[in-house]
């Protein structure tokens, strides 16, 4: 009996390996090996047609001397700093307000409506906003014209183009985080809200002392997700501004793409990709540390 059990267990383990195998092969081939290769390529000179040639740290030296890299790095950081707090705060306020004051049908309708931009592709979103933001005849300038504001060159002015990238991102993201926050608010024990009400707490006090602390784990998650997805911004930049005017909206991810597939500098682009990876890993590490301390 015991022996049979053992072979049965071995057989089960064998089945288990068979079940895991396809996904293991996919992740190994298309994720793990590419990561290792990306790190290797970052130390080589490689133009896709002749074989990769090892050149040590030259790509990294080149990257750290390039002013375009610093623009891209600075833009990416600036973009994270602008989009993440704004979209998180908006999502939080809307979720709390709908959960608190609009439990009816109208609230449900608003919730569904605010989620809609989430399912629009970045490319379609950028295409629509690009038409709306046109200097001559764009609907936004037409609208502003009603108030006597002259034609604004949204995508042709450095600071404004950057702002537009942020706005489209926020427009697309709020609904997603709002849905997560909403589920979180609904999960707060009713007794806590009622106790606060009994103590005569004002709505603002209840928000700061009951709602916000209860949502802290969700906020960590949302902020981390937001930072990481903002770090990788590519589509909206590609479609809306192409990195311009000048280098005012170029980002790290956009730089990886253009250096690899327009300039054929695969080694150099890999070095930027590895730097991007280090940033993302650092954020995960930080978030992990903060989480454990709480």
């Amino acid at each position: 009996m015991k022996k049979r059990g053992l072979t049965g267990r071995k057989q089960q383990a064998f089945y288990g390996i068979l079940y895991i195998l396809p996904s293991f092969v996919i992740i190994l081939m298309f994720s793990i090996i590419p990561i290792i290769l990306a790190i290797y390529f970052s130390f080589t000179k490689y133009d896709m047609y002749s074989p990769a040639e090892f050149i040590g740290l030259q790509n990294y030296e080149g990257v750290f001397k390039s002013s375009t890299f610093y623009s891209a790095l600075w833009n990416t950081l600036k973009y994270v700093i602008v989009t993440v707090p704004v979209q998180t705060l908006l999502a939080l306020l809307i979720a709390v307000f709908i959960a608190d004051k609009m439990r009816g049908l109208y609230g449900a309708l608003l919730k569904s409506t605010i989620f809609i931009p989430v399912i629009v592709s970045n490319i379609a979103a950028a295409a629509v906003w690009k038409v709306m933001l046109k200097t001559r005849g764009g609907i936004i300038n037409n609208f502003l014209g009603l108030f006597g504001i002259g034609e604004v060159n949204w995508l042709g002015t450095k600071a404004l183009a950057f702002l537009c990238i942020c706005l489209v991102t926020i427009w697309k993201n709020v609904g997603y985080y709002m849905v997560i926050y909403y589920a979180g608010v609904m999960g707060i024990p009713k007794e806590q809200q009622e106790a606060a009400l009994m103590d005569g707490a004002s709505p603002a006090q209840r928000f700061w002392h009951v709602t916000v602390p209860n949502l802290r784990p969700i906020t960590y998650m949302i902020v981390t997700l937001g930072i990481i997805s903002s770090f990788q911004i590519f589509d909206i930049v590609y479609q809306l501004t192409g990195g311009g005017p000048g280098t005012s909206t170029i980002t790290l991810a956009y730089m990886v793409y253009t250096y690899a597939f327009s300039n054929q500098k695969l080694g150099y682009a890999s070095a930027i990709a590895v730097i991007l990876l280090l940033f993302v890993l650092a954020i995960h590490w930080l978030q992990d540390k903060v989480f454990k301390e709480r």
Binding site: G16, Y19, I20, S31, K101, I114, V131, E194, L266, A273
Partner: protein
């Protein structure tokens, strides 16, 4: 509690107006897109009295300029990605959760770690790998890599709630292994499969960077890539471009309308962006 809240406060009114306004901002661009899609405008000076509403742009998109082909490509790739991801991830999740595989937790940690890696990092080697195995400009290049660690993680979370009793009972009855998976496990984890299908559908339909790099032949473009190219032409037909954007949006939107509850629940529970 309910009665206490029914009082109308000025704050409540201001809040309602602001949230309503925000909801309007969320849909206004999409309504604008829809209206523009019925026009034939090459200049943006819209004179609504000159706009004739017709479906000519939609006719062009479906029947002309390789658009129809790219639409078909996207549909095929998305459907394949959904089926493939569900199958591969459900199998792996079952193996990880219910089978005594030695070292599985260590392997699972490695799987999870791959989720942290930005797609731009693997982009170049992935492209070179696909070139080597001759998968560039194919459907396989687009859908096979979609079955990643996220799906395995998501289904495994759900699989933890599946009682081993079902599996043991089937084993005692002498039910063959493949039948246990297809006839017992898959039906039991159906809600998780629905969530994963929704995630995969939207992620695959909307994905851009990888299809842009992997499929560079006109006949193998996905719809999102075709839409992007249409917009970068100098002589843009705004009506046509907005019609393409509308089609690109309409398909995930139809899914959202029909499966709204599962959509929202999947995100609220999973909470991880695909």
């Amino acid at each position: 509690m309910e009665t206490a809240r029914k009082k109308i406060s000025p704050m409540g009114i201001i809040g309602t107006v602001l949230v309503s306004l925000f909801a309007l901002i969320c849909v206004a661009p999409l309504i604008y897109m829809l209206l523009m899609s019925f026009t034939q405008l090459r200049s943006l000076y819209i004179r609504w009295d000159e706009v004739t509403f017709n479906l000519r742009n939609y006719y062009t998109i479906i029947f002309k300029n390789d658009f129809g082909r790219s639409l078909l490509n996207s549909i095929i790739v998305t459907v394949l990605a959904c089926v493939w991801t569900d199958l591969v991830c459900a199998m792996a999740a079952y193996g990880f959760e219910k089978k005594p595989v030695p070292g599985k937790e260590k392997l699972f940690k490695i799987f999870l770690a791959t989720m942290m890696v930005p797609s731009q990092v693997t982009l170049i080697p992935l492209f070179l790998t696909m070139r080597k195995i001759g998968w560039l400009n194919s459907y396989a290049a687009l859908f096979v890599p979609m079955a990643g660690a996220f799906g395995v993680f998501m289904i495994r979370q759900f699989m933890k709630g599946v009682d081993d009793v079902y599996i043991e009972a089937a084993q005692i009855d002498g039910c063959p292994e493949y039948k246990i998976f297809f006839k017992i496990i898959l039906p039991l984890i159906q809600p998780a499969l629905v969530s994963l299908t929704i995630f995969t559908f939207v992620a695959c339909w909307n994905s851009f960077l990888w299809p842009l790099v992997a499929n560079t032949e006109n006949s193998m473009y996905t719809f999102t890539v075709a839409l992007s190219l249409l917009n970068s032409q100098h002589d843009t037909n705004y009506g046509l471009s907005m019609a393409a954007a509308t089609v690109s949006f309409a398909i995930p939107f139809a899914l959202y309308i029909t499966m709204q509850k599962q959509f929202i629940e999947g995100i609220a529970l999973g909470g991880v962006k695909g």
